[in-house]
Amino acid sequence: MIQLQIESITLTNYRQYSKAKLDFTSPERNKFLTVIVGESGFGKTNILNAISWCLYGEELHLTGGKNISPRDENVLPIYNIPTFVKARPMEVFPVSVEIAMNDSSGQKWVIERTKKFQKLREDKAAMFPSGSNSPDGSSVSLTIQKKKGGNYEPQENSAERIGSLVPKALEQYFLFDAEKIRDYFNVHIAAAIKDEVNKLSQVDTLSRAIERLEKKRDDFRRESSPISASTAKLEEDLQKIRDSLALERGELRNSEAQKKACDDTIQMIKTELRGCTEENVASLQKLRDEHDEAIQKLEDELDSNELKKQKALVKYAPIILTMPAIESTSHVIARLTRSGELPPEYRKSFLQRLLQEEKCICGEDLSGKASSKGRRASVQKFLDETDELSEATVDISRFDGDMDRLESEAAAFWEELDGLGSNIKRIETEIENKRIKMADIDGKLKGLNVEKVTRLQDRLQEAEKAKDEWSKKIGAYEGRISHLKDDESDKADDLDNELKKTKRGLELKKKIDFLNDAIEAAEKVRDNITKKVKGEVARLTNENFFSFLSKKTAFEKVEITDEYEVNVVHALGWQARQYLSTGETQMLALAFFAALHKVSGLDMPIFIDAPLARISESPTERIVEAFPKCFENKQVCLLMLDKEFRPVRDKFLPILCREYQILYNEEEEGYGSSVVTEYA
């Protein structure tokens, strides 16, 4: 966790500032806000530029949006013009920015960047010493000093030290230009945000570890090739399958992105159609949407019925096909029952016991000696005529009952199947009818001869057609990927089996298996962390955004994709980020920015330029009220116009530690200096 507090910033001859010092120390912990007020052009944004120039040698917040080369002589120079004008010929004057800060352990640091200039003539100054646009920047000095005891000691490797204290990659998270919000949500920035959040949450460390493990595993796999011709061939085949899988996955991702683009286009066109002032157009479009939604529901119902039908067929097919055997076996049991053979008079085991004990249950002797010979012979005859079935009469009875039930269920099956078949037919007919109605509406909309509507309808149909095409392609890619995964699994099994045949192969297999397990475990951890971090960012962004909004019911939620694209979902389900007002977009950016700060653990001071520009009064009040919660325990500095700050100043008072005002003194026509004073 990076923790930093800025104590002061001192500007000397930097742009509008001949000399200015801003103190950021706070007398109380709960007062963390500094506000710097100034009119347009007085130098508010140049305070951000001063910080980035001091730390990284670049002014990253120039209005033109790019870092202008110091060698470009046609642009406004970095030095203060009044200082330059007042300097004598050949006089050397410095431009410097000094930042005093504390790190998380309370250690104090002072960073200062100085660039010297020499006035060559009335209209020109050059860096000093002359000719020193040298690679080693000898006209520019960067120092970092660490406080030890009562003194500050210079440190070596200034740039690296500064990079470890305040990494340049994180600059946009603490020097935030709210005027550039539209750029904030473009894909490039989203990808950059994703990278940075991954770095902050150490996910990229895990990713690098996973890459190293995969490389090691692949090295072991390659070692398996020379073991035998079979393993070499299998390894080659496996690699081919994997290469094909990678290709297909790439195509799938592309198709999914294209399909999403079609979806976005469709939503946009539908929104435009709905917004048409022609009443009949709007109501026709609404009707079309209703039919479309109904078709989707019907298609789901159709799938469900077809699945039920399949399950019924699988369950009852064995019963129906073996019904002849069931009926004939039932007849056998019925016949034996009618003839008295079932249930048998005596159980076999009972008769065996009588003969064994040589005594009947009535007490008569059954030993077979003398008079009992005949009796024993009779019992023996009964025994010979009785089969194993006599022991299983209960089971046979149950079996017979089961067969009766199956005969009834088979009859009920046809009713169920016919019912499902009717449902399916009905649903298919309904879908067809709705499609006809939609086609009719499309025809009517086109026939209205409203140029814009016709154009939109054409585009809508094209987009829907394109979406269908991409859906089909996605299905095909998914099918191919599924087959390839099956092939990959089969081939990997074959390779494993082949490796097991040799000792060396077995060793390699163990290593490969171990690495696979390690990769899987690391990927699971990474996925969990990423999911948690993204989930938390989304939750906080939602919380912040809805605390800022006035028309809360217009939107349902803010979503953040896996690629860190921020989407806003309208209450009726449409994607609405592109249609937010400038003020709403600014609120969303602030909400997202605050969420990233909190989740990333990035406890760096935050400077926000023009945070409330373009935001109307009541959202401004809500944002101000939400500020302490969004940015609690962070050092925050806001750069604002007076007309933005004055109405909300009272609301900021509980958290306000310092207020500054930038005033501009025009000394001569065409130039002046800014001075920083206490706010009045």
Binding site: A317, T322, A325, L336, D387
Partner: protein
């Protein structure tokens, strides 16, 4: 009848193993079915088409355990068919060894019919439904 006599490991012929394994692939219409369900279909088709064949070599490890039948219906079918295949000898209804061996022979014979059903042109479930309807019609005509 002790419950545990019904519990056995049922096997398939080794030569059919590749086909049965292939039924689990995502392109198969039977991919979501359990082994016991697939086997029952093969067994029923074997009985229906009067195809009975001994396994040349049983696939090692077995195909499924009879404990995995969802209910008692498969046991009832196996017993009824076994009695029928042994000329109505009801004593076979309690001879579980013969019941399972007869079942395996019919499933081995029925595997070819199942294979044709899966691999031939058309929707598998539609073809299966047609077979069942034909069977029902045949029974109705026979009764008349």
């Amino acid at each position: 009848m002790p419950e545990d006599e019904r519990y056995a490991i049922v096997s398939i012929d080794q030569k059919h193993k590749a086909f049965y394994d292939g039924l689990k692939k995502t392109s198969s219409p039977l991919r979501n079915l359990e082994n016991s369900q697939i086997w029952l279909l093969a067994f029923a088709l074997g009985f229906h088409n009067k195809l009975r064949a001994k396994s040349v070599q049983r696939a090692p490890g077995g195909y499924f355990r009879t404990e995995y039948f969802h209910d008692s219906i498969p046991f009832t079918l196996l017993r009824a068919v076994c009695v029928n295949e042994h000329d109505g000898d009801l004593t076979k209804a309690i001879d579980w060894s013969t019941i399972f061996s007869t079942g395996e022979e019919l499933a081995t014979g029925g595997t070819q019919a199942l294979k044709e059903l899966v691999e031939s042109h058309g929707d598998f479930y539609k073809k299966l439904e047609d077979i069942l309807r034909d069977e029902c019609k045949r029974k109705t005509v026979k009764k008349k």
